[in-house]
């Protein structure tokens, strides 16, 4: 899932030239995914999903402990995160959090439907790269 997330983030950064791949504040991929998830499961549902993903990601990337999920499921305190940690730690946090969100989606609705959601969010993202990578680090 990490590789998949890396591809998505790179794709998103490559598409939006104003952002750099290593821009730690962007969290662009998540922001783009958010309205689709909110439409599907409601903001309460997104809050529950992202909170769980953040809890899982925290165990791997301690820097994410600064981040909070608000009642609507959006990420907060990203500014504090940037202030406290260097770019690479923030970028790693961003990557792992997205990977855990996708992980949870796969657990709940399966790989095929998760790929379809990703395809809806990023229709230009090459289908051959949409496939999640099974195995390896979760």
């Amino acid at each position: 899932m990490r590789v998949w997330s890396q591809r998505l983030i790179a794709h998103e950064a490559g598409k939006d030239h104003s952002s750099e791949v290593n821009d730690p504040a962007a969290f662009l991929a998540f922001e783009k995914l958010y309205p689709h998830l909110a439409s599907l499961m409601g903001k309460v549902g997104v809050n529950a999903l992202v909170s769980r993903a953040l809890a899982l990601a925290n165990a791997e990337v301690p820097s994410l402990r600064a981040v909070r999920v608000n009642a609507e499921g959006a990420l907060e305190r990203l500014t504090e995160l940037e202030a406290q940690f260097d770019h690479s730690a923030v970028a790693e946090g961003r990557l792992v959090l997205l990977a855990r969100i996708l992980d949870l989606l796969v657990v709940f609705i399966g790989e095929h439907l998760t790929e379809r959601i990703v395809g809806d969010v990023w229709p230009q993202f090459p289908p051959n790269k949409r496939k999640s990578t099974k195995g390896g680090k979760r």
């Binding site: 909110a38 499961m41 409601g42 549902g45 709940f108 609705i109 399966g110 439907l113 379809r116 395809g119």
Partner: protein, 532 residues
């Protein structure tokens, strides 16, 4: 031309030329439900642009039915919108529904859109809910709209708004969705007594009521179309089940519209596989008839049934055996020991054996399973072995209607042109000659009775043809044995005894010279060899 002829013609011309009659008739297109059997119950499908409610208690299959309808109809050109509201979370819904074979993940997104309205319902008024629905519908232009669960929308509204506002909301929603040419479904948990006072049930065009009843240890699912504006549906309670393919409904009139056909139009006779018995039946069973073989345990009912099937297979006539007691393997093993090669026929696809013992089936389900098997193999012959096991396979609630249900099943099957042999176990009494416990003999065209009699200090077996509808038959009571070749009639009718059908006959003439039967009977010897 005479005056009389002119008078007779005039009204016809008027009727045919009436422009009003043509204009008044609007053809209502019917959309398929995707649920096998339900379109027939509905009278062809769901009327297009209708505003419907799918109601019932929790766990009865409302959401699954809604999904089946959505997946059967949604296309990219005419998509479906599935609004979820405070009921089963969308993630769980998708997780669970994709277990069904009708679920097509490729339709999600473009053909089917899931939209969560929980935030709107929780935080805002009914007007805002309607606004949100209108916005999505006008943007997407769907053919199907589902609100699941509508009950939660209303429950929230009852707390915050007046009854009038709620009625206005429902009215506006119904009018808007129909005007936008959407066929819509409100899914909700309702109890039957709510129907009286709830204006929703007055407004909707179609009311699909699902229920599940617990009867002793079994659960029976039932479906009722309380109303369906614009077309005639089949009234009454229909059973349905939920399997891997989703819902399947069974009309309570399944089979009743079948007209019995004479396959060749001349009453061809089918051999039962025992030449002497064929002779007693004036050449065999009339094709398309239903034959009942009644007798106590061990008299060879299943052996005769197997011979009947094997006789057909020898002429390349495909067959189905619906077994309710004995396991198919035991059945085919015994048949093979009698030289009746059922296994080979199974491999060739000429014979299908159904083993039905779930204990909570309805007769309609069984009928459908058998009809499907008959269609699959193109069966000409069918064995139902036995009625007692059949009754045991039914949920307790259905046993009360066993006779009526059986009647429908026989009509449906003989209507399909199949010749049926049914076995039934009856106890031998020594005062009467009963044909079955069920008083179902009126269902069958022909009846053969097997029974034990005491002759010369032995418990022997006799056979008699009781009835053959539409044909003559032998009145003889014939003795038979079960040999390595199956049921074999061994004597002409016995005239040396009186009262054979009582089971304890009296000798009236000299004892017949007969070779002593060596125990065990040849059949038993064969069977022992086969199991070794």
């Amino acid at each position: 031309m005479t005056k009389r002829n002119n008078a007779a013609k005039r009204p016809q011309i008027k009727k045919a030329a009436s422009p009003q009659a043509k204009v008044a008739t609007v053809t209502i297109k019917k959309i398929p439900t995707g649920v096998r059997g339900l379109d027939e119950i509905l009278g062809g499908g769901i009327p297009e642009f209708s505003f419907n409610i799918i109601a019932g208690p929790p766990g009865c299959g409302k959401t699954t039915l809604a999904h089946q309808i959505v997946f059967a109809n949604a296309t990219v050109r005419k998509p479906a919108i599935y609004f979820t509201v405070l009921g089963e979370p969308a993630m769980k819904m998708l997780r669970h529904q994709q277990q069904y074979s009708f679920f097509d993940g490729s339709k999600l997104g473009k053909a089917i859109r899931f939209i969560n309205l929980s935030d709107v319902v929780l935080g805002k008024s009914l007007d805002k809910v309607l606004e949100a629905i209108i916005q999505e519908v006008t943007t997407t232009n769907p053919g199907i709209v589902v609100v699941d669960s509508f009950r939660t929308v209303i429950r929230k509204a009852v707390a915050d708004t007046s009854e009038l506002e709620m009625q206005t909301f429902i009215q506006r929603l119904a009018q808007f969705l129909s005007s936008w040419e959407a066929t819509s479904f409100l899914v909700g948990e309702y109890a039957p007594d709510e129907m009286r006072d709830n204006p929703l049930f007055t407004i909707v065009d179609g009311l699909f009521w699902l229920s599940q009843l617990t009867e002793r240890n079994s659960v029976v699912r039932k479906l009722q179309i309380f109303k369906l504006r614009g077309q005639a549906s089949v009234p009454g309670l229909h059973t349905f089940h939920i399997r891997g393919s989703g819902l399947q409904a069974f009309s309570r009139t399944l089979g009743l519209d079948s007209k019995k056909i004479d396959p060749l139009g001349e009453g061809r006779r089918l051999s039962i596989g025992t030449p002497e018995l064929d002779k007693m039946m004036n050449g065999g069973i009339r094709e398309g008839d239903s034959l009942l073989i009644a007798g106590p345990s061990g008299t060879g009912k299943s052996v005769l049934a197997t011979q009947f099937i094997a006789a057909g297979l020898s002429k390349k006539e495909p067959a189905v055996m619906a077994l309710f007691e004995e396991r198919p393997l035991g059945y085919t093993d015994r048949a093979d020991s009698l030289g009746l090669k059922l296994k080979a026929a199974q491999k060739k696809g000429l014979l299908e054996t159904l083993y039905l013992r779930p204990l909570d089936l309805s007769v309609d389900q069984i009928t459908q399973e058998i009809l499907d098997a008959v269609e699959r193999v193109g069966a000409k012959r069918l064995v139902i072995d036995s009625l007692v096991g059949f009754e045991m396979a039914l949920a307790p609630g259905f046993r009360e209607d066993f006779r009526e249900s059986l009647y429908r099943m026989i009509v449906a099957l003989t209507g399909a042109g199949v010749t049926i042999l049914t076995t039934v176990e009856v106890e031998d009494t020594f005062t009467a000659l009963q044909f079955s416990h069920y008083t179902v003999s009126f269902l069958t065209d022909d009846i053969i009775r097997l029974r034990y009699v005491e002759i010369d200090g032995q418990l022997r077996k006799v056979v008699v043809v009781i009835k053959m509808r539409g044909g003559n038959h032998s009145k003889d009571i014939r003795e038979y044995v079960i040999t390595g070749k199956g049921v074999v009639l061994i004597h002409p009718r016995r005239t040396d005894y009186h009262g054979l059908i009582t089971g304890v006959p009296k000798r009236t003439g000299p004892r017949l010279l007969q070779e002593e039967e060596i125990a065990p009977e040849p059949k038993a010897t064969k069977a022992t060899k086969a199991t070794k």
